[in-house]
């Protein structure tokens, strides 16, 4: 029956699990250091992304709930659409045009989430579906990551409004560290490459600070028991192990583990994307495999694939594996001789 509920008994147990809505809110709070640090280095374009994406997210969720004849206010109260908006917002290049964000949020909220049945039923991480769709559909806009700059860069408003002529776009773009390293070419050794100062002033350290800010948010989530350690540890662990293997085999052509860890979306992905419980594996063992799989795919795609970063693809690919993981990572119930995987179509 359970007349007691963890979220209702206050005071004497600090380890209580907060209800779903407040889980989501804690994740939102934990994104703040990352958003603040990004805005500090890359300007207010980060904030405009987040605000636009969050607004679109909530509006689209409300519209879809209305069309699906579901309670709107109660459902919106779980803040999950808001969170999806924030996560997609910080993934996009700063000051992305509004229509780009809208297309991404339609893919995330309408297609990836509500059409599958809403919160709890989406097999793919909605924010990453939006991101991946934009990356393959609008590569020009998605690689426009301006170098660290003033808080309000020139052409900020027209950029958001989408009225900036395409010819000017190139002048805004700068390579991210991952992007630059990917295109260094086989002729150049890693040490020679870094000696050429391939990146605009401060880019590398800016990315590192951003990474550390996401890590801080992640630690907060772990400390508050909002997420379990399994996925981030497995993912970061496999990134480090695989990157170290590659690096040791040929330090002159492969990036160092620290480089992989601190640049790009590795830390953000490990704590904020891969840990989305809905689209992740549910058992502890499954979570470890899931996280490790994402980490491995990140390194493989970054090293051998066509894209500089790979967190979105890695997460989506592992989302595909979740039903399988859930079937094969069944723990051994007490008193059962062994864990019995539940095979499809098998009759008991």
């Amino acid at each position: 029956m359970s007349m007691m509920h963890a979220s209702q008994v206050n005071g004497d147990n600090s380890a209580a699990i907060p209800p779903t809505a407040s889980l989501m809110r804690w994740v939102i709070v934990a994104t703040l250091p990352g958003i603040a640090t990004m805005s500090y280095f890359f300007g207010l374009g980060v904030i405009s992304n987040v605000l636009l994406a969050a607004t679109f997210g909530v509006a689209l969720e409300a519209t879809l709930l209305h069309l699906r004849k579901r309670p709107i206010r109660v459902t919106l109260n779980d803040s999950s659409a808001l969170l999806t908006g924030i996560l997609l917002g910080v993934s996009l290049p700063p000051a992305s045009p509004w229509w780009l964000i809208l297309v991404g949020m339609v893919a995330a909220i309408v297609v990836a989430k509500q059409l599958y049945g809403g919160l709890g039923h989406n097999p793919f991480n909605p924010a990453m579906v939006g991101y991946a769709l934009l990356l393959v559909s609008f590569p020009t806009y998605m690689t426009l990551w301006a170098p660290p700059q003033a808080l309000i860069p020139s052409g900020f408003w027209s950029q958001i409004a989408g009225s900036l002529p395409t010819t000017q776009l190139d002048s805004l773009s700068g390579a991210t560290p991952l992007d630059a390293f990917k295109h260094k070419g086989g002729a150049l050794l890693a040490s020679e490459f870094w000696a050429t100062n391939p990146l605009p002033e401060g880019t590398l350290s800016a990315w590192r600070w951003v990474g550390i800010a996401w890590l801080a948010g992640g630690v907060l989530l772990l400390a508050k028991r909002i997420i379990s350690w399994h996925i981030p540890v497995a993912m970061l662990g496999s990134v480090v192990v695989l990157a170290t293997l590659f690096y040791l085999s040929d330090p002159s052509h492969f990036a160092s583990p620290l480089f992989h860890l601190l640049t790009g979306a590795t830390l953000f992905g490990a704590f904020f994307i891969a840990t989305d419980p809905v689209s992740a594996a549910s058992s502890r063992q499954g979570k470890l495999i899931y996280g490790a799989g994402i980490g491995a795919l990140v390194i493989i795609i970054r090293t051998f694939g066509g894209y500089p970063d790979a967190v979105a693809f890695a997460v989506l690919l592992m989302n595909l594996c979740v039903p399988l993981l859930d079937i094969y990572s069944v723990p051994r119930p007490t008193g059962q001789r062994k864990a019995q995987p539940v095979k499809q179509g098998e009759q008991p």
Binding site: M1, S2, M3, M4, H5, A6, S7, Q8, V9, G11, D12, N13, A15, I17, P18, P19, T20, A21, L23, V74, D78, G118, L119, G120, H121, S228, P277, V278, A280, S282, S283, R284, K287, D326, V330, P331, R332, P333, T334, G335, Q336, R337, Q340, V342, E346, Q347, P348
Partner: protein, 555 residues
């Protein structure tokens, strides 16, 4: 002292035990009338054996056990039988409190059969919650060798302190009761498992054990203090924790050589054997913010819950709900006009603030919290999906029936999904389906029972006829003995087979009744009755044949 082993999962809900374990254990006032439900135990309801207006004393049997898994019921106050219905017997008290006890039994010298009979006729059932008849449980030794008797004093649910107080007040009696059970099941070892949140009970036990070393108990007793964590008092969880043994799925502790008993039951066993006092009262924890004088009381069975709570200073305006049992596994009482039964270990009169109604359910976000707290290492989330989808094949594959319904998953669920309610519903639905599916089988068993009964009646008639004829023969001294030779050997084999099938039916019944207390036992009881009828008939035939044989040999 402490244990090295562990079970998975578990939670730490607020204890709230201080509310009821501060006050001393006292006797509740003698009720003026008691209502005794005929079903206060697992198995079949008892059958009334008194009539309206009968004068009864405390300890008089008012209902006899029916079938194998059942229990006798005794008057808990002296007075007259006021009402007998299909479900309960009411006794109007005379205020005299006159007792009728069974004779004292020296358990150390008494035969096993005498002790078992005493447990049975004293109506002793497990007082921890399941209400399983103790004499049936003790007979487990006929099929399994028991190496350890576990005294389950973990009492892991919040609020409840009945075992705590039992041990503080009656440590010697509980230990002696354990010795009786150890003797009955031949256990060479006794372990007491107790959570570390009961220091006074632990101290009382330690004192008693030290004191006992001088007059040496027959079976050595070990005291193991375990960390407080819900649900360490689950039978399987405690056995895992104390002995690192896994009770197999669908099995019983006896399958791994362990027997579990609750301290209250052991006390009742001692009182039944030593004092000849049947089970007529029990210790009940009265607690919750809506009563002024919480604490533990000796309560006569059948006392009205309402009366009991009012005596403890119930504040009706603050009362939100009364929960029978603990807040995790207990259930809310729909009406306060219910009696205390053998199974009532705790009554929580809760205000709305202490145990509020659960918030509205939201969708499962697959966070996996439920899985990490499940003490059986099940996947509560998968069970949730399949229970809602009524996918019984998947439920079986995810081991629904291994769920002990502890409620840890519901407790931690951030979406407030009433998971255990789903599982209980699914289980009862599947039990009903099984009954439906076996209907033809049941009808066959009923038919077989009827045939067996007729055959037995025929055999009885035959026996009477033969006896009459033998009488006449002897009088007329005409030695015209029946010409046909008697197949004595065949009858002996038939008798042995009938005896074996009674044993087998008893074994199956005892097992099923303990494995799933909510299972309907009607069919198995019917099969047992059939086997008993067959045995009776075989006995008669055999006796008759022997009679004939002897009369032929000595004309």
């Amino acid at each position: 002292m402490s244990s090295a082993y562990d079970f998975p999962g578990g939670i730490h809900p607020p204890q709230r035990k201080q509310r009821s374990n501060q006050a001393a254990l006292i006797e509740a006032p003698l009720p003026k009338r008691v209502v005794l439900p005929l079903q206060q135990h697992s198995g079949q309801p008892a059958t009334p054996c008194v009539v309206l207006g009968d004068v009864v004393k405390v300890g008089s049997v008012v209902a006899k056990r029916e079938g194998m898994i059942s229990s006798d019921l005794h008057a808990t106050i002296s007075g007259t039988v006021g009402e007998i219905s299909a479900t309960h017997i009411t006794i109007e008290g005379d205020g005299q409190d006159e007792w009728q006890r069974l004779p004292h039994l020296d358990w150390q010298s008494a035969a096993h059969e005498a002790l078992l009979t005493r447990l049975s006729e004293s109506g002793i059932v497990g007082l921890g919650g399941a209400g399983f008849p103790s004499h049936i449980k003790a007979r487990v030794v006929e099929r399994h060798a028991i190496h350890t008797l576990v005294i389950n004093a973990a009492e892991c649910e919040p609020y409840i302190t009945a075992d705590d107080l039992t041990l503080r007040h009656y440590p010697a009696e509980v230990l002696e009761g354990a010795q009786i059970i150890a003797k009955l099941c031949g256990a060479p070892h006794i372990i007491i498992g107790i959570e570390d949140n009961k220091p006074e009970a632990i101290e009382a036990l330690q004192r008693e054990l030290q004191h006992d070393q001088t007059n040496s108990q027959p079976v050595p007793v070990e005291l193991t203090v375990i960390a407080t964590r819900y649900p360490s008092g689950g039978e399987r969880q405690l056995i895992k924790k104390l002995l690192d043994l896994d009770v197999p799925s669908g099995g019983l502790p006896a399958d791994v050589g362990v027997l579990c008993h609750n301290p209250g039951t052991l006390l009742a066993i001692l009182q039944a054997v030593r004092d000849g006092q049947p089970l007529i009262s029990r210790i009940v924890t009265l607690t919750g913010d809506a009563i002024a004088q919480p604490g533990n009381r000796w309560v006569r069975l059948g006392t009205s819950v309402k009366e009991l709570l009012e005596q403890a200073g119930l504040n009706p305006s603050g009362l939100h709900q009364v929960i029978q049992g603990g807040p995790m596994m207990g259930s809310p009482l729909l009406s306060l006009d219910t009696p205390v039964t053998k199974l009532t270990n705790c009554l929580i009169a809760a205000t709305i603030d202490e145990l509020p109604a659960p918030p509205a359910e939201s969708p499962c976000i697959r966070c996996g919290e439920c899985e990490s707290v499940c003490p059986v290492a099940l996947l509560p989330q998968q069970l949730h999906w399949y229970a809602r989808a009524q996918d019984d094949a998947k439920l079986a594959r995810y081991h629904l029936f291994d769920c002990i319904e502890c409620g840890a998953c519901s407790y931690v669920c951030p979406s407030h999904i009433p998971l255990v309610v789903d599982y209980r519903d699914a289980k009862s639905r599947i039990r009903l389906q099984r009954i439906e599916a076996a209907k033809a089988e049941y009808a066959k068993h009923r038919f077989e029972f009827r045939q067996a009964r007729l055959a037995r009646e025929e055999a009885e008639k035959q026996a009477r006829r033969e006896a009459r004829q033998a009488q006449q023969r002897r009088m007329s001294t005409s030695a015209a003995a029946s010409s046909d030779t008697v197949d004595l050997r065949g009858l002996r084999i038939a008798h042995a087979a009938a005896k074996a099938s009674v044993k087998k039916a008893e074994k199956t019944l005892a097992r099923v009744a303990q494995e799933d207390p909510k299972q309907s036992l009607d069919d198995l009881e019917m099969q047992l009755a059939t086997a008993q009828e067959n045995l009776r008939a075989a006995e008669l035939q055999l006796a008759q044949a022997r009679e004939q044989q002897s009369s032929k040999e000595s004309p």
